[in-house]
Symmetry: C2
Subunit: 630 residues, 2 copies
């Protein structure tokens, strides 16, 4: 029995059926690792057989990477009031380098815990926070550098492979491995198969991060690095203008359903402490935040009143809730700020502008920069990863690749080295608005000056002239920069620059970024990425409509679009589609050509290459049934 008020419970504890319905023709599978508590979730999409003249040929199911957590598993028991199972709790405890605290370490956390006014919306099952034992470092980078392969690393290796090795033979038989293109990876070193050792090496080298706070044991481990699948992030968060706790939890689940690999909670409104707790306890993916937003709320929105002490307390508060990565704008240096004054659009990063204001008001160096080593100490006590913020990113095409932007990038490289000395994990945030021909320079500069620490970019938008379509202007830039080596792409929704995204916008933004990330995986040559394309194209060619929908990133929309034109159930069995009608269906005609070849008793190649005058006559003779019934 919960002590929470009924109306709150009613709202906060249900998810819509839209957000939790299992995907069509899909089942959740778990691949076990070297120990029974390593169970890596994936989604298996089953397909219908191909009908041939001689009968039917089965099509092997396709296994895909799955970010949706237990929510799409009909066998899972979801209770938002209790949160997800703490699947990593044992791994964290058995390492013996952290301990549960008696209470919260942050002043603010304690105040909120004791606050009667917010009791009615507080998550009830807050765990004891954990922290590294004195002198210990609980970061995955630290383990990797000491040669330890953690269960998280093994989990990730299994996850990234998506059973490619295991399924190779069945994929081969089903025809999904035809004409796999070698990629062009611009110096990335993609493995043929991801091993736990490879994961550890990449993390030790700083080329990949595993965002996994020891206070977020619910998360399903994932990795961000140029030598892995390209990931995407979705933003959620309430603001002064809008949104409630229940909505934010729903948005998080909704985001992971469509493919969000991480979720950033960018709340700036009321009750952000409480909202965050609900989100983290129920999130199967890493959660990122921008702590300066909350720190600013604590000083009533007055940037000049921010202090290191308030900020530090905020970091600890959030680290003990389980935030997995922090955006920290430590590269916004006083000397760079004047360089933004003549820009077309000045400083467009919220965090960057807050710090710029603080620097100006105090005429002192950015306190995140001056206290950077102390921040590292906090990060390693909980294993929070840095996402070094690009506070001076360009907000318009005009401002792309200017001295302010690249000046800050160089400082982020300097900070990367500092963090790495502490074995703290780092990724680097990137632009913004950049015309296509200047995108590669961003990647090259980042790789060079930040030593291949994972790049995490917002788009970039490749033109400014399409408000309402900036998921697309930026999806173009995202696909390109992902190909060049960016590890994670922060999504943009159609509402960018205009308003707050609703559920449809979030889905539209995520699918756009998912397809951009996949296009990048294909282009850089991620092993097996093309299996899904091939399986889908084969289904398309064979008029297996339902298979085509189900293999797509958004089966619901594909089906809905199809049904708008041809709503009858029978149309999904039709051997032509609504665009051209039967006479003009090129796929149908190609099939006829193949059928014809098969019928005359030769394989297609031979049939077509032989002198065919006689066969041609035969073909004409059968002309009455050129569009043969199935």
């Amino acid at each position: 029995m919960s002590a929470l008020p009924n109306d709150f419970l009613h709202d906060a504890t249900r998810l819509t059926e839209d957000a939790t319905r299992p995907f069509p023709a899909s089942r959740k599978i778990y691949v076990e690792g070297s120990r029974p508590d390593i169970r890596v979730p994936m989604r298996e999409i089953s397909l219908t057989p191909t009908k041939t003249r001689d009968g039917i040929e089965p099509n092997a199911p396709v296994t895909v990477y799955d970010t949706s957590g237990p929510y799409t598993d009909p066998a899972a028991h979801i209770n938002l009031l209790k949160g997800l199972p703490a699947l990593r709790a044992g791994w964290i405890a058995e390492r013996g380098d952290s301990e549960p605290l008696k209470g919260l370490s942050s002043i603010y956390g304690r105040i909120r815990a004791a606050d009667d006014k917010t009791a009615h919306l507080r998550f009830e099952h807050i765990r004891q926070p954990r922290r590294a034992k004195a002198g210990a470092n609980v970061s995955q980078m630290h383990y990797a550098r000491r040669g330890l392969i953690t269960p998280e690393m093994e989990y990730i290796a299994i996850r990234e492979n998506a059973r490619l090795q295991e399924l190779r033979e069945s994929y081969e038989q089903a025809g999904y491995l035809r004409r796999m293109h070698a990629g062009q990876s611009f110096g990335a070193m993609l493995p043929k198969e991801v091993t736990p050792q490879f994961v550890a090496q990449e993390v030790a080298r700083g080329r990949a991060i595993i965002p996994a706070n020891i206070n977020h044991p619910e998360l399903e481990p994932m990795i961000i690095g140029r030598n892995f699948r390209v990931k995407i992030n979705a933003n959620i968060g309430n603001s002064a203008v809008s949104s409630s706790i229940a909505e934010e939890v729903e948005k998080m689940v909704w985001s992971t359903r469509w493919g969000g690999d991480t979720v950033m909670d960018l709340s700036t409104g009321k009750n952000i402490h409480e909202t965050r707790e609900w989100i983290i306890r129920n999130s199967p993916v890493p959660i990122g935040t921008v702590p300066i937003y909350q720190a600013l709320e604590k000083v009533g929105g007055k940037a000049e009143e921010l202090t290191w002490e308030i900020y530090r307390d905020t970091l600890i508060e959030q680290a003990e809730q389980g935030v997995d990565y922090f955006t920290i704008h430590a590269g916004v240096l006083l000397r760079y700020i004047p360089w933004t004054a003549n820009r077309m659009t000045g400083i467009v990063s919220r965090g960057g502008s807050i710090l710029a204001k603080w620097c100006l008001a105090h005429h002192q160096e950015n306190f995140l920069y001056t206290h950077f080593e102390e921040i590292c100490e906090i990060m390693k006590a909980y294993d929070v990863s840095f996402s070094l913020g690009d506070g001076l990113r360009p907000g318009s095409i005009a401002d792309a690749n200017d001295e302010a932007q690249f000046g800050e990038l160089h400082t982020l490289g300097e900070l990367t080295e500092k963090a790495w000395k502490h074995d703290v994990q780092v990724m680097i945030e990137g632009p913004g608005h950049v015309p296509m021909h200047l995108i590669k320079e961003n990647m090259d500069e980042q790789l060079k000056h930040c030593f291949e620490a994972p790049f995490y970019t917002l788009g970039p938008l490749t033109t400014d002239i399409a408000p309402g379509y900036d998921h697309i202007t930026s999806g173009i830039g995202a696909a390109n920069i992902g190909w060049y080596g960016t590890a994670m792409l922060c999504y943009v929704t159609p509402k960018e620059h205009l308003g707050l995204p609703d559920k449809d916008d979030v889905r539209e933004g995520i699918i756009t970024y998912k397809l951009a990330a996949h296009a990048a995986d294909l282009a850089k040559g991620w092993p097996g990425a093309q299996v899904r394309d091939n399986a889908l194209s084969k289904a398309r060619f064979e008029f297996r409509w339902e298979d085509q929908f189900n293999l797509g990133l958004d089966p619901d929309k594909a089906k809905e679009f199809h049904d708008e034109t041809l709503p009858q159930e029978g149309a999904k069995l039709a051997h032509f589609c609504s665009m051209c009608g039967p006479h003009f269906c090129s796929m149908k005609i190609t099939q006829d050509v193949r059928d014809y070849a098969a019928q005359v008793g030769a394989d297609e190649q031979t049939a077509l290459e032989q002198g065919m005058a006689e066969k041609s006559a035969e073909f004409k003779q059968q002309g009455a049934e050129v569009y043969r019934k199935a």
Copy 2:
């Protein structure tokens, strides 16, 4: 008084208000050339002034390229029953190399003209068709090669410049010319200013085409070539399954409204002859078709019954109606067909598959290839341009860049040379489905083997896994290939592979391609392309919301999205936006920084660079009004 039945008139003669409403804050202007009948339409977007501490600073209006024809001109008198004014009629007549015919030359045209059953839907004001006089060649290429600069060429030069030279000073003052990036054009030779001479040179060289049939005098001349703005094509057309004449005319107008530079009528259903007449008579943009579709209808859908005579009659029928370019799949050679048998998705071009079937049935070489010279004779008698079809384009990632595709491309190069010997204009169609890293090879091969004849591509789609979002998977490929040198991008709508696009899908597809083409223009360095980005970003930064909407490609959607979150009129005057609220608005904060600098009596740069301890105190003192009221 029209002889057409009332219910038909009711449907066919009105356009929706959506399709004809002038754009907000915009007026249609006409730039006059060297003679009064050269009046080039453009759209001028007026902007509100910038409010500063000292008063207001005006922002110069921005002139943009306009494809929408007279439909968005409130002064134009639109009568679909009569068609658009024949603005090129005088130019064509005065050249003295063509003559009006007594009647239609095609057998089919004459049959339809006399057909009582279709009288009720026939366009009533069919002009006498014109044809070149015996021995004459009326192609723009022929004129250009003889050193003639036609009014069409001058018109295009004015149009491509969009008044950049004339407005340079006012753009400078308004701040739109800041930080204009040089592009990376991969060997294109973009002029600083487009002159009529340059247009003529490019057309003479075959590097650009002006699709402009002498029987389509209504069109507003435009050019397709790598050294000009990247263009986009929108497809319309009824099929056996759906659509009426009235709908097709509305779709054509709708397409040009949002930026379609040309429109292809891909009809395959009933009454395509009559539908085409209505479309051409009312179209301000070039119309392309795939004549084999109609030829196939004439033989009851039986590819093997197609003959050169029927096809030839179809070319003449359509040329005399005024079709500006024909897709002709003359490169689908018998020997290439076997190469497609082992593909993932065989032949996906409708035209390609029809011809493949014909070739197989007859075991003869493609009759479009064997009769190519005769086709050239028809093309030059009306100035119809070739769009040499890529009948063997890949229909899946797996099939990209294979031997069938490139084999056909080489043949298209051979045909280009043949057509050029006749001074007939040529563009080359391209893929299809191609992963990002293989796109450039397509462009390079095309430039090399087709001697820089304009490339006209469908996408390409960069992954197969997102049905329902293929405008985006292909928009990514389109932006890239446009940057590499493709001259025109054929749009893809969200319904691709799934169903027939409705009006919203057409708009979504066009805007996606328009932004991709613009991103390509920015990246290749089209002179002045960035003016619109800069003007919009400046408006965004200064919270001139309406200006931001109006400068966008789709003002309606931008405004609608904004209003979903903040519907009050006042919100469009707000100095912050709905995403962050006032405290977190980075643009607001940057403005504060600038204001502060201005207030303390120094320009920003100096203010920020000076030692500022004192100024810092001052700033804090004013802290109570950090977010100053406007």
